[in-house]
């Protein structure tokens, strides 16, 4: 049976728009600023088998994980999935979750007595209980220290809220009121989505709609296969080393072998280190998402991101390893680290296959969060985004100067420092690009920043200095690594000191300085045009010595 190519195109627009519309409902109705400002959520549609068919609204690291949650719900509840049911899940081990703070709410779309699809939303909650406020417990050694685990449950049974269940869940968070309103915003979003999807389904009929959902997946697959077929066959190996396991400076390795055979790809993590005690293990759903970002960023960005896109990708993730841990290993940091490391592995491997598309590494984040009481005695949690790291270079452009995390590809907006001064008891001293931090290259990496503030009141710092000590923005094709990050307390005074990479410590009023990691360079620095080197020197991005040393350019 053939499909009409025009209808496929029109349906793609409609579903993408529908997921954006769900996102707007969420932004309008949610209470936590994490949704309206940081947009840390994703809306998506899955077909009746739990295959994600559209996710136009969402952050990249959520891309691959949606289907896992939907399929977990289907496995657990079929054949008791009824109209107006609403499901809730978060657990990475039994419910296809990526990490506990991301809760998925989904509702089935029934039409003429048949299950057509699910509309779903995944959103990072303000708090989920666990060892520390704000969902990230760097000292966790079991998932039980990270927050409440939710298997696939029915939050609404045929449209009726199971209030006791919701109360049980929200009582296990530090802010039941906020979480309750945010969950109701999520429910609102999937319901709006379900109504609209039913309208679309009604116009086409269930059978046709199902057929066209399949066509969307096929289309994405065809696009991706065309891209992959252009990559030379072979096996490309790569390794990325984390310089710590959160408790010690022990190296933790991710090994990856990407085999391209025609338009099929196998990503094999065999040889990756076993799971670790700390929260940097990657849940399987998250490992898939990170691999998908790694691949998608090497091909045409115009390809839609649905589950068809990655059909030809086989992921081998040994059980008990860092990228597919056994319970009860903690996983909360996985959407950042090791997601960043997994993406880097994909880039390093494929750089060998398609050098023109090689991407240099992005500096790893090293900025902490701090909590305390402000002058009014109110509790605050401050993310030190002003100390975020820089992006790496690709052929044709230098790396982006300071950016949000690689896993959002810059989709996350850094706050203004003026806004943070108003909110928190800090005074910023400076935040400027950091000389000689950018990895040298024909295209250079982005420069990190030199960020410093005076702490006006004591505060508890949750240190997550992944990008400290060793370079993380790797160079490719002869490009150099970006500088590692560095944290200094009270610089230039007798009490000057460095801090551990991962820790929870209380700092008295002091000067806190973070020099963030630079991005890697692309290509041989000697090929960088002399004028571009001199411009960087004139701009103070590059010192005279580094111009001579890295680029062989003597500054007149």
């Amino acid at each position: 049976m053939t499909v009409d190519p025009i209808t496929v195109a029109v349906l793609q627009h409609r579903l993408d728009q529908l997921t954006r519309e769900m996102g707007l409902v969420m932004v309008r109705a949610a209470r936590s600023p994490i949704f309206s400002q940081a947009h840390d959520f994703s809306c998506f549609i899955c077909d009746a088998r739990g295959q994600m068919v559209s996710q136009a609204d969402g952050i990249p690291i959520h891309t691959g994980s949606g289907g896992f949650a939907a399929r977990a719900v289907i496995r657990r509840w079929e054949p008791e999935i009824h109209p107006d049911d609403v499901f809730l899940v978060n657990d990475p081990y039994v419910a296809g979750g990526n990490h506990l703070p991301d809760w998925v709410v989904m509702t089935p779309v029934w039409l003429d007595g048949e299950l057509l699809a699910f509309t779903c939303i995944r959103a990072h909650q303000a708090d989920i209980g666990g060892g520390v406020a704000g969902t990230y417990n760097s000292q966790a050694t079991e998932i039980f220290h990270e927050g409440i685990r939710i298997p696939p449950v029915k939050l609404y049974e045929r449209g009726r809220l199971r209030r006791d269940l919701l109360e049980l869940i929200t009582l296990n968070t530090r802010c039941p009121d906020i979480v309750t309103s945010d969950v109701s915003a999520m429910v609102g979003a999937v319901r709006v989505g379900a109504q609209r999807l039913a309208e679309i389904g009604r116009r086409l009929g269930v059978a046709e709609a199902t057929r066209y959902f399949a066509a969307l997946l096929d289309y994405a697959e065809a696009r991706m296969r065309q891209e992959l077929a252009a990559i030379p066959d072979g096996t490309y190996e790569a390794e990325e080393v984390m310089n710590n396991d959160c408790f010690s400076d022990r190296p933790v390795r991710i090994r990856m072998a990407i085999t391209v055979a025609g338009s099929d790809v196998t990503v094999d993590f065999t040889g990756t280190d076993p799971q670790i005690r700390a929260f940097k293990n990657s849940a399987l759903a998250n490992t898939h998402s990170a691999v998908y970002i790694g691949l998608a960023t090497m091909v045409d960005p115009d390809i839609p991101h649905n589950e068809g896109t990655y059909r030809m990708v086989t992921i081998v993730a040994p059980e008990g390893s860092l990228v597919n841990p056994r319970p009860p290993a903690p996983v909360t940091y996985d959407t950042v680290f090791p997601a960043h490391d997994i993406i880097h592995c994909c880039w390093k491997a494929l750089a060998q296959a398609v050098p023109a598309r090689a991407a240099a590494g992005w500096g790893k984040a090293a900025f902490p969060t701090s909590t305390g009481k402000d002058r009014n005695g109110e509790e605050y949690v401050m993310y030190h985004w002003g100390g975020a790291s820089a992006g790496g270079a690709v052929k044709g452009r230098d790396g982006f100067e300071q950016m949000g995390q690689l896993i959002s590809l810059g989709g996350l907006i850094l706050p203004n420092l003026e806004a943070q001064e108003q909110l928190y008891p800090v005074r910023f001293l400076h935040c400027e690009l950091r000389t000689d931090s950018a990895g040298a290259g024909e295209y250079r990496g982005g420069a990190g920043v030199d960020y410093a503030l005076r702490l006006e009141e004591p505060a508890e710092f949750s240190l997550r200095g992944e990008g400290l000590r060793t370079p993380s923005g790797f160079g490719v094709l002869g490009g150099r690594d970006g500088a590692p990050a560095r944290i200094t307390v009270d610089p230039g005074t007798p009490s000057e000191r460095q801090l551990s990479q991962y820790d929870i410590i209380t700092l008295p009023p002091c000067v806190f300085r973070l020099e963030s990691a630079g991005g890697g360079g692309w290509g041989d620095p000697r090929r960088r045009p002399r004028e571009a080197v001199l411009a960087d020197v004139r701009d103070g991005i590059l010192s005279h010595e580094a111009a001579q040393r890295e680029y062989g350019v003597r500054v007149p």
């Binding site: 209808t7 349906l11 400002q37 960005p301 850094l414 935040c431 400027e432």
Partner: protein
């Protein structure tokens, strides 16, 4: 002296609308990007000729002359602005380069950010500081400013922007630097961030001030040249320019704030929508202005144009409140193509005006939406503008056959219909998002379709969105030029006022506002007698503690005991309306006070015409054409706009050809010419919405 002239320079055409005792006249001439004033003079010359006047006679009798300009936008997009120097607080000169890490297309990580408008070596730090409470902790050392000026002078800097950390709390140091710069760099334009935008956010203030500095010199030269030429051609009325907020400013004022001219033309769409909405008694309007390269959407809700606090143009962020102009890359020139996996795509590339659609026969070989309409029999092959632009149907067929039909294995007509369906799906998505974003349902709105191509798509879009009523102004092709004649003269003022709302001093706020009000009144009193009396709108921007954005709430003066509590209550209510929830227990903070002084334009005397003697329609020529709601070809009645007058009623399927626009009427729609000579389209009620996807049956 009652003539009013609106002029709008678009990417393809320059439009002129003239309203005087002879009625409403619409004139178009091709735009001349190298020197836009030439195209404008050509269009004005046509207008004069049509009234049997010399250009000087046309202008001498003009009481209101309004101009919508693309100069600032073009300077920015083409990278042809001034050499700019930037002064910031020492230690904070890189927010411009970091851009808060914002990327419009995250997945497309290879795409570079737009070029920086100020290189780092011309971004200089000054050792000064305003603390977080607005206290000047360290004043400006004039020697540092002098040293920086020397660097700027040696570098050939033509325009300077200043943005200091925390200056929104106290602009004193910025103003001091401004004073020093003007003294040591005479003739160099100086933009202070707090003059443009006294609000929190060092990145947005810097970016906006820099864009302003970048486009200022060329924009003011252009406006001066235009003003001189018009004066030489005996225009006595002041040259008024439409600003992003939709209001008008005299050219010399506007030249000082050119960042507020970046959507100058399209912003007039809001006034146009309000004008035509008034004629049919509609307060909720979606306005769609579809030209050669893009489609501009504006939303009027309860009579008020939807606005945004920030625009992004060419990747540059301009945080100036503006009419929310949603731009979709969907126009008559939008190119259809088949991607490598066999999906039909429309845009984002456009054939624009040059070379234009394949059927223009000017060297374009790729199929555009105009070619699709032509193949589907909906355009008069004798062409637009009474034959000025003839259309070659064979060229359109060839382009679609080769680039769409053959690769997809479809016949020519289905390929052409598919192109339009995809374009419609994109526009409908954009409209839905614009309304839903504000918590609205598009079905509550009336659609006003304008531009050369708007009314070709309006019926299909309305059906798709569940909208029952479409209004097509007869002068649809010069929509914004007409609308700007109804726009008010405006001046806006903003002052920071940061802190807990209930901790403020009502008397001090009243004093601040009264001072602003005096400025506003003085500024508008001036030289344009045609406008109505001055009114003033005052609001305070409030937010819940911890929120990033803020919401303006109207303020009644003078403030007295209990006023702040009343404001707090209004804020909760407004927050619930806009965002769907309120938090009555939370602390409410003030951010700034805003004042808008405005003088309304005298209402346009559009008089209803007596109905035509027969209410039955004249007969149109019958031809075969594609009909949207039948999803197939059918016998269609063709009319020339000139055949139809007030009172005529036409049942679909039909096509009405105006000189520069075309209206497609679905089989179940009804078209009526109203008393103003405009077209009112009622979308087939009760008829099931066509199968969205299925192959045409």
């Amino acid at each position: 002296m009652s003539r009013r002239i609106g002029t709008d320079i678009g990417g393809t055409f320059t439009d002129v609308a003239v309203i005087d005792t002879a009625g409403v006249g619409i004139f178009k001439a091709p735009s001349t990007p190298a020197d836009p004033i030439i195209g404008l003079r050509n269009a004005l010359a046509k207008a004069a000729a049509a009234r049997g006047l010399a250009l000087e006679e046309l202008l001498a009798d003009c009481a209101v002359f309004v101009h919508g300009t693309t100069i600032a936008t073009n300077v920015l997009l083409e990278g042809k602005g001034a050499c700019v120097g930037l002064l910031t607080t020492a230690g904070f000169r890189d927010s411009l380069a970091i851009r808060r890490g914002r990327r419009e297309h995250p997945w497309d990580h290879r795409r570079p950010n737009p070029p920086l408008l100020v290189p780092r070596w011309l971004r200089l730090g000054i050792n000064e500081r305003v603390d977080k409470h607005g206290v000047i902790e360290r004043p400006v050392d004039p020697a540092e400013v002098t040293a920086a000026s020397r660097t700027f002078r040696e570098a050939g800097v033509e325009s300077v922007a200043v943005c200091l950390f925390n200056a929104f709390l106290n602009p004193g140091n910025e103003r001091e630097i401004g004073r020093l710069l003007r003294a040591v760099l005479p003739g160099i334009a100086v933009t202070l961030s707090t003059d443009i935008l006294p609000v929190l956010g060092e990145y947005e203030r810097t970016s906006t001030a820099v864009v302003n500095a970048y486009v200022a010199p060329r924009t003011s030269r252009y406006l001066e040249a235009l003003s001189d030429q018009l004066t030489a051609a005996r225009l006595a009325a002041p040259l008024l320019v439409t600003q992003n907020g939709g209001g008008l400013a005299v050219a010399r004022e506007a030249a000082a704030r050119p960042a507020a001219l970046t959507v100058s033309g399209p912003a007039a769409g809001a006034a146009a929508a309000a004008l035509f909405g008034r004629l049919i008694g509609e307060q909720n309007i979606i306005s769609l202005d579809m030209g050669g390269t893009s489609c501009d959407l504006t939303l009027i809700r309860d009579g008020q144009a939807a606005s945004v606090d920030e625009l992004t143009i060419g990747g540059y962020h301009i945080a100036i409140p503006s009419v929310d102009v949603g731009t979709v890359g969907a126009g008559g020139g939008t190119i259809g193509w088949v991607d490598p996996a066999g999906l039909l795509r429309m845009g984002p590339r456009s054939a624009g005006a040059d070379p234009g659609p394949a059927c223009y026969d000017r060297g374009g070989s790729e199929p555009t939406s105009t070619d699709a309409h032509l193949v589907l029999g909906r355009l008069d092959p004798s062409g637009f503008l009474g034959g000025e632009i003839p259309l070659n149907a064979a060229a359109a067929c060839r382009a679609i056959e080769r680039h769409v039909a053959t690769p997809l294995g479809l016949d020519l007509r289905r390929a052409a219909a598919g192109m339009l369906r995809i374009l419609n799906a994109r526009m409908a998505s954009a409209i839905r998002l614009m309304t839903v974003q504000r918590g609205d349902d598009p079905r509550r709105f009336c659609l006003i379709a304008a531009g050369g191509a708007g009314a070709l798509h309006a019926s299909a879009l309305a059906r798709e969105l569940g909208i029952g009523k479409v209004y097509v102004p007869r002068g649809a092709a010069a929509y914004c030029a007409t609308g700007m004649l109804e726009a008010p003269r405006t001046r806006e003022y903003r002052e920071p006022l940061v802190g807990p709302l209930l901790g403020q001093d009502p008397a001090a706020i009243t004093r601040t506002l009264e001072g602003m009000m005096a400025h506003g009144r003085a500024a508008l009193r001036g030289d344009d007698a045609a406008f109505g009396p001055i009114t003033v709108l005052v609001s305070m921007a409030l937010r819940y503690s911890g929120q990033q954005g803020s919401l303006p709430v109207p303020v009644a003066l003078p403030l007295g005991p209990g006023s702040l509590e009343a404001l707090e209550r209004s804020f909760h209510k407004r927050h619930a309306e806009v965002f769907g929830f309120e938090r009555p227990g939370d602390r409410v903070e003030a951010m700034e006070v805003r004042l808008e002084a405005l003088r309304p334009a005298p209402p346009l005397a559009l008089s209803p015409a007596p109905p035509s003697s027969t209410r039955t329609a004249v007969l149109g020529a019958a031809r075969e054409a594609y009909v949207d709601d039948l999803e197939s070809f059918a016998d269609t009645a063709f009319y020339a706009g000139g055949q139809l007058s007030a009172g005529h009623v036409i049942a679909g399927p039909a096509v009405v050809a105006e000189p520069a626009s075309t209206i497609a009427v679905g089989a179940y729609d009804q078209l009526e010419v109203d008393a103003y000579g405009n077209y009112l389209l009622t979308i087939g009620v009760g008829h099931p919405i066509g199968a969205m996807g299925g192959p045409s049956r």
